[in-house]
């Protein structure tokens, strides 16, 4: 089982769209895929038309490892399941803090699903908190959608600094440019000169496209993948590149 976390300290960078698109492509490969919506905003849950509601909320869910299995919902996509969000996830830090070894909690819960899924995608809230640390500990790959602007790059540096000090060993950090608007000179320049960044960004860039917005708005992947649009092609290429980077990783 490979665990991918979609994460950025900054919000509004196309994180949920990427999580939904990549999870969909993973399921299309035939991999048994789970997406866990950890963001209290519940955007991924909304996309899959599932009610953002977990009985007993985050506290009850995190109390027993095996409860995770019970809240899983099948999506309308063959091979793709979802753990829905819940508004109480906004207090996930407090829930985790009350537990022993809070940073290991997400890892330990997902261990029970090892036989059921090949790929897991964690859609994380934009913050740097105990919950993020629990996600970093669980993840094999941290996918960081990054807008090509100086401010975004700065948050990437902050993340790198944090992971260097406190991050788990062996976490593969893969930033990629997201919401790229080629009409903007700043975007073009930033994408062309990724030197000096802590991590080499993936070569595929996700464009700023209405198809991405429509996918979330209409709660359907058809605008993205139904016709062969630029954004859909970019996500396909991104998924292939991610898989390639993992395959090339030294054993």
């Amino acid at each position: 089982m490979t665990i991918f976390a979609l994460y950025n300290l900054k919000g509004g960078v196309g994180k949920t769209a990427a999580a939904v698109a990549l999870a969909y492509l993973s399921a299309r490969d035939g991999a048994r895929t789970l997406i866990w919506d950890l963001d209290p905003q519940g955007a991924a849950t909304y996309c899959f038309r599932v009610r953002a509601d977990i009985e007993g909320g985050a506290k009850r869910l995190m109390a027993k490892r095996r409860r995770l299995r019970g809240v899983i919902r099948g999506t309308d996509i063959d091979g793709l399941d979802l753990v829905p969000a819940d508004f109480s996830l906004r207090r996930l830090d407090i829930v985790l803090d009350a537990r022993k070894r809070p940073r290991r909690r997400v890892t330990r819960m997902l261990e029970l699903l090892e036989p059921d899924y090949d790929n897991v995608f964690l859609d994380c809230p934009p913050s740097m908190s105990l919950a993020s640390e629990a996600v970093f500990a669980a993840a094999d790959v941290l996918l960081v959608p990054t807008m090509p602007t100086p401010l975004s790059q700065r948050t990437l540096e902050q993340l790198a600094g944090f992971l260097e000090r406190k991050g788990p060993q062996g976490l593969e950090v893969l930033p990629f440019y997201s919401m790229v608007d080629r009409r903007k000179a700043l975007h073009r320049q930033t994408c062309e000169s990724p030197d000096g960044l802590a991590y080499r960004p993936l070569s595929v860039r996700i464009p700023y496209a209405s198809a991405v917005e429509q996918t979330v708005t209409y709660r359907s992947l058809a605008p993205l993948f139904g016709r062969d649009g630029e954004a859909g092609r970019a996500f396909r290429a991104l998924w292939e590149e991610v898989k390639q980077r993992l395959a090339d990783r030294p054993a």
């Binding site: 089982m1 035939g30 038309r49 599932v50 919902r73």
Partner: protein, 530 residues
Amino acid sequence: MTAKTTTFEATRDASDKQTATLIATLLGAHGTVRSRRYHCSRVYYDTFDWRVYRAGATLAHEINDDAQLIVWESFDGERLHRLASKSAPEFANDLPDGSFGHSLAKLIDVRRLLPMVAVESRGTQWNLLDSRQKTVVRVRSTSTRASSTDGTRRGKPARTVCVLPVRGFDDDARAVTELLREGLRAVPVDGTELDRALAAIGQQPASYSSKLRVQLSPDQSSDEAMKAMHRELLDIMLANEDGVRRDLDVEFLHDFRVAGRRIRSALTQVPGVFPDVPATAFKDGLAWLARFTGPLRDLDVYLLELPSYRSSLLPEDREALDPFERFLRQRRERALRSVIEALDTTRYGKLISDWRAFLDGELPADGSGLNATRPIGEIAAERITRRFRKAVKRGRAIDDGTPANVFHRLRIDCKKLRYLMEFFRSLYRVEAINPLIRELKRFQDNLGLFNDYEVQQHALRRFAREMSDERGAPVGTLLALGQLIDKLRERQLEQRRRFNERFASFSDKKNVGKYLTLFARKTTGGGSTS
């Protein structure tokens, strides 16, 4: 727990269209429904000995409206593994590295996946939606037709209605199942689509096993009992012949040989049951055949061992075995040709047909050998006890200075004992005989490995010599083979160290007592004990 898929057989008096209309109406009363055409073709795969099915699962390559994939499902319809792929794998290692490939390798090992039956389904799928327009349950009504994969047999079309639950929406699946059960007045059917498809083309799943399944009773006359057993052994042997000829996987030859060896063993170890003429001729014929199949099996074994040979060497030395692998493969091609030529001879054809005619023929009324009319229970007990005593006696004489060939003889004793116990397993209580077989097997593993390492050392030396004579093998290859011989010697010593402990548990008072109790009682019925 996720609800299971429920399948109904639709009534034959309603047309597809009528059924579809009825389903749409029933579902429509329950919520919003979206329908689409559905088309799916599947080919089910399994190994010759049905390892996937025996593990409670099915494996299929599926082409549906959206995707092409390999699907591994439990009998409940739960998807254990899936993978997008334009074709089915032939062997487990054709799958990419991952949990699917690993689980499949564990199950089927070196066996080839063979197409068992094809199923073509067409019809309609309805998705029942909730207030968010989210699918909560799917219903499929299809006309399904099974056919054999060579296209020679086609089943009658069957109409089925399936309720497919969506995870986390079990209540909806249960409600719809109930709705359709009442509305269609249909009964849920048991079994998987594979079971139904095989039945439709007149086949049975798990129809072949290399294990003996014959049921004997202790009072049966020996000639009758042994004939029944020999018929089954011959069936097992011949069932593998085609796979040997087509070189489908290495297990066909192995099972073909084992069946032949068991037949010879049964003829030697249970003497005086059949007339001498067909029995001896068949035994000799099988020995002649083994002279062709033996070399091929040996080469299979070395090729199977190759990955473990490689990994026992330092990474930089592993490539040195490439010329050795090529050498083995060329030899194997030749050995396979010889086997096929032997199978094509009239001698082989006559051998089988004569033996078959004898087995299918009438038994002489007065029996044809000394033991022919004695009850089989008596003979079984007598032979097993004798063989067991012999093995224990030989084992006790072994000490630190005993040469390897004595271990080899003991290994043969134990193999014969094992065959006898398997031949006559049905005469005894399972809970009494199975633990004895298990204990024997543990001991045989030790002896088997000891002997394999001995034989492999000699064989590698011989191969090295031949490679060097025939084509001047690279020095690196010869050195690597030398290293392997050293490793094999070490492993052999390890097995020798284990021998005492294994033999002690095989020959201790408790185990001997169990043999004597289980097999001595039967000899009280009188008759000769040799």
